[in-house]
């Protein structure tokens, strides 16, 4: 089971934050096929948010084919986002750590590192480089 959290200052609508957090957990393998998501009531009680927000998020996840609703029982993961790439996470993580320490040695602070990373991701996906 995963727990959601909301960042009021992020500018991302609450329902999208829930969707993103599920996708994130699916990508990292924290959620697997058959796992149950928290019920709407549980999310509402934990976060003090509108039930419609949770329903909207779960509907979108269902629409994306990531979860299925079993009426009266709950919402279950139907598909993960890890595919075969999860195995590659470990080495990539190590590479990234190495790169990070290089960047820090070069005098970049966290904010500059994040800005640089985001900029490169954006420009490389704009060029169509995978």
């Amino acid at each position: 089971m995963i727990e959601f959290h909301l960042d009021a200052r992020s500018g991302v609508p609450p329902y999208q934050q829930v969707v993103q957090q599920v996708r994130h957990a699916l990508r990292l393998g924290l959620l697997d096929v058959g796992d149950q998501l928290p019920t709407v009531k549980e999310v509402v009680a934990a976060l003090a948010i509108n039930p419609n927000t949770v329903l909207k998020a779960y509907k979108e996840l269902e629409h994306l084919g990531l979860v299925v609703a079993r009426p009266g029982i709950g919402i279950f993961v139907a598909r993960t986002l890890t595919d075969d790439s999860l195995a590659a996470h470990g080495p990539l993580r190590q590479d990234l750590r190495r790169w990070l320490s290089q960047a820090r040695r070069a005098g970049l602070d966290d904010e500059s590192i994040e800005a640089l990373f985001r900029d490169v991701v954006r420009s490389s996906s704009a060029e169509g480089v995978a």
């Binding site: 609450p14 509402v44 976060l47 948010i49 039930p51 927000t53």
Partner: protein
């Protein structure tokens, strides 16, 4: 979808002063509505009109399909908590529940007792000895045990500390999730409303500035920043809500359902607080102008 509250040209005057004027609204059922505005904007007047505590001076209002306060069976379907969550200081928590059971044709005693137990309130304690947060929760429990179709809450969280505020909203959202009641709550704290509300009404200077589904409002409002522009040079579909200019730069808040094509603008999403502030600023300016005109 049927309207839970429908107002047409609704107005209320106290003496010479209009507390609410020209109010036209159609709020769909099943929503959690945030009624926002500065103090004295007419929020309480609109809520009192909606539960039938006062009668309109002009126009009409229908709540749950009928004129508020005219039929006892309609009243039973509305739960109302007035400002500062009034309770009887010398009555115990248990007495409040008994009183509620006696006063209301529909009363879910189990729901009321379960909620009191879950909140950790001692049924023997007098309401006067409860904390502000506990009193607000007791008042909410009384309103909810009626199993209403509509809950009307006037500034329920304004006087609570952040923890009590969060607990109150958690309780409220659980009720909405479980029983599907519609909620109208007034507040001047926008940050809390962003989580719980899905419909917004902004009231300034006795007038409705904007009303609508929060998701729709957020996708149709943008902040534009760019070199100095004249507002009259904008495309006709872009309605300017707020503007500020320096000698070189213009910052506008605009409402439009269409994409913004002018590449000289930096286009940003507004959050709910900025959106509300833009309408409040505009409303306050209109209000000042109106008062000046009246004086002339």
């Amino acid at each position: 979808m049927t309207a839970i509250l429908e107002a047409n040209g609704l107005g209320k005057r106290y003496g010479h002063k209009w507390a609410l004027s020209g109010c036209t609204l159609a709020i769909p059922s099943g929503k959690v509505v945030g009624l926002v505005g500065p103090n004295g904007a007419g929020k309480t007047t609109l809520l009192h009109l909606s539960v039938g505590l006062v009668r309109p001076t002009t126009g009409s209002i229908a709540v749950l399909g009928g004129r508020p306060g005219t039929a006892p069976d309609k009243l039973a379907r509305i739960g109302f908590v007035a400002q500062d969550a009034p309770t009887y200081a010398t009555l115990s928590v248990r007495d409040h529940l008994r009183f509620g059971a006696w006063m209301n044709p529909i009363w879910d005693a189990k729901l009321a007792e379960d909620r009191i137990a879950r909140l950790g309130l001692d049924p023997r304690q007098k309401a006067g000895q409860l904390s502000g947060g506990q009193r607000a929760q007791l008042a909410l429990t009384l309103a909810v045990a009626k199993r209403p179709d509509l809950l009307v809450l006037d500034e329920p969280i304004a006087s609570l500390d952040p923890l009590a505020r969060r607990e109150f909203l958690q309780g409220l959202m659980e009720i909405v999730a479980e029983h599907g009641a519609s909620v109208i709550l007034s507040s001047h704290i926008v940050a809390d409303l962003e989580r719980v509300c899905d419909y917004l009404v902004v009231l300034v200077g006795s007038r409705v500035q904007i009303a609508g589904d929060i998701g729709d409002l957020l996708t149709t409002h943008h902040r534009l920043t760019g070199p100095r522009h004249d507002r009259h040079a904008l495309p006709s579909d872009q309605q300017v809500i707020g503007e500020s200019h320096t000698d070189r730069q213009s910052t506008l808040v605009v409402r439009t359902a269409k994409p913004i094509l002018d590449p000289s603008w930096l286009v940003e999403q507004l959050d709910l607080e900025d959106l509300v502030l833009a309408y409040m600023t505009r409303g306050a300016a209109q209000d000042r102008r109106l008062k000046l005109e009246v004086r002339w």
